[in-house]
Amino acid sequence: MEITERKLLTIVAESVLEPRLIEVVDKMGAVGYTITDARGSGSRGARSAGWTHNGNIRFEVICTGEIADRIAAHLREHYYANYAMVLFITDVGVMRPDKF
């Protein structure tokens, strides 16, 4: 089976950002995303999933390295200063490279 390399960009951020992240990802040229609800803790303290506006989401995008860079740069510029957010990039293999 032919496996092509792509990047998996994972963003953990406060859930209030969900619509913004969807917009950004779309604008930067990615064709899809996957979201799960999460809770956690980091430099901005603990964030529990229990209460409406206080949880995190775990936002994943499979895309080319170039798009991943663009999304990461945009988020760094616009969101890092004021929002709870963590971002990391993993190498993944996909079967339908044209899809991402």
């Binding site: 209030v16 913004r20 303290g45 999933a49 229990g50 209460w51 409406t52 506006h53 929002y83």
Partner: protein
């Protein structure tokens, strides 16, 4: 004391003692949905029965409370503390807007004492929710800022609480008392029980917020304790001027004295991201909410009675 208040205390204690008691988010949302619809439906039914004259003037008077309070809070904080503009504006928005849970506790308090309430109060609840949020945003950024004004307005006006309150009002108004009767077992008879469960969760959250209070604690505590009473007095006074009965004056006082913990935080987080969200939440949920339900509501009721008596 109204037994629903005990549930709040139970939640606070469980939270402070770090019990594993927790309310699933879905349950919290069900309870708040039912509370909002109940308040709306009840108001709508009453408006259908006793149409209110001069409503437009009243609504304008009430909306002006939502402009005055945030301006006053903002000016005071900026004059008396070193808090950054964004934080002052955010606190202003929270205290100018309203808390549905506090309102529900006020309704429950008056119901226990059989005090009648004017039909238009749920409408005033809707009217007071939004303006202060807009004022807060303008205070933080200036009106001309490049901020995504449309998006924020959409979020505020089409937020869950406005939609359910207005929806309930309209349905109650269109259906009238007989039409609404089959809905009463869920929306009216269970009201206090639903409120009790809701306050249990509020207690858990408040304990969390209060114990998370660290940065700028003086600012938060002073704002949270000093704002409600004068704001409520303004509400009661306006209520008197526009001719509300004692119950109506009390509830308008409760609304003015209460601080938002749903609509305002969500809107501020997006529109004024450099404001520290935990300042406003600790103040409104951790301090002002308990202050109001224990001390504020009876106090505002007393003031309304006194003012009505003095006016008579």
């Amino acid at each position: 004391m109204d037994p629903v208040i005990w549930f709040f205390l139970l939640g606070v204690l469980a939270g402070l003692m770090r019990s594993d008691l927790r309310m699933p988010k879905a349950v919290y949302e069900l309870l708040s949905m039912v509370l909002l619809l109940t308040i709306g439906l009840k108001g709508g039914v009453e408006l259908a029965q006793q149409p209110v004259g001069g409503l437009v003037v009243q609504v304008l008077a009430v909306a002006s409370i939502g402009l005055v309070i945030p301006l006053a809070v903002f000016s005071a904080i900026r004059a008396l503390s070193s808090a950054p503009r964004a934080d002052a504006a955010s606190l202003a928005a929270h205290y100018g807007s309203v808390s549905v849970a506090t309102y529900a506790v006020g309704v429950s308090f008056l119901a226990t004492r059989n005090v009648p309430v004017d039909a238009q109060l749920p409408l005033f609840l809707v009217v007071l929710e939004v303006p202060a949020i807009m004022v807060g945003i303008v205070l933080a950024k200036g009106a001309a800022a490049r901020s995504n004004w449309g998006g924020v307005m959409h979020e505020v006006f089409l937020g869950k609480s406005i939609v359910l309150l207005i929806g309930g009002l309209l349905i109650g108004w269109l259906s009238g008392p007989e039409g609404i009767e089959p809905l009463e077992p869920l929306f009216f008879d269970l009201f206090k029980g639903v409120l009790a469960l809701f306050l249990l969760e509020m207690g858990l959250i408040a304990a969390n917020q209060a114990s998370g209070l660290k940065r700028r604690a003086t600012l938060v505590i002073l704002t949270a304790i000093l704002t409600p009473v004068p704001a409520a007095m303004l509400g009661i006074g306006v209520g008197h001027v526009i001719g509300l009965n004692v119950g109506g004056m009390t509830l308008l006082g409760v609304l003015a004295g209460s601080a938002s913990y749903i609509a305002a935080p969500a809107a501020m987080r997006i529109a004024v991201p450099d404001a520290n969200p935990s300042l406003s939440l600790s103040a409104s949920l951790g301090i002002t909410f308990p202050f109001n339900i224990f001390i504020g509501v009876p106090l505002y009721y007393g003031a309304a009675q006194w003012l009505a008596g003095a006016g008579a």
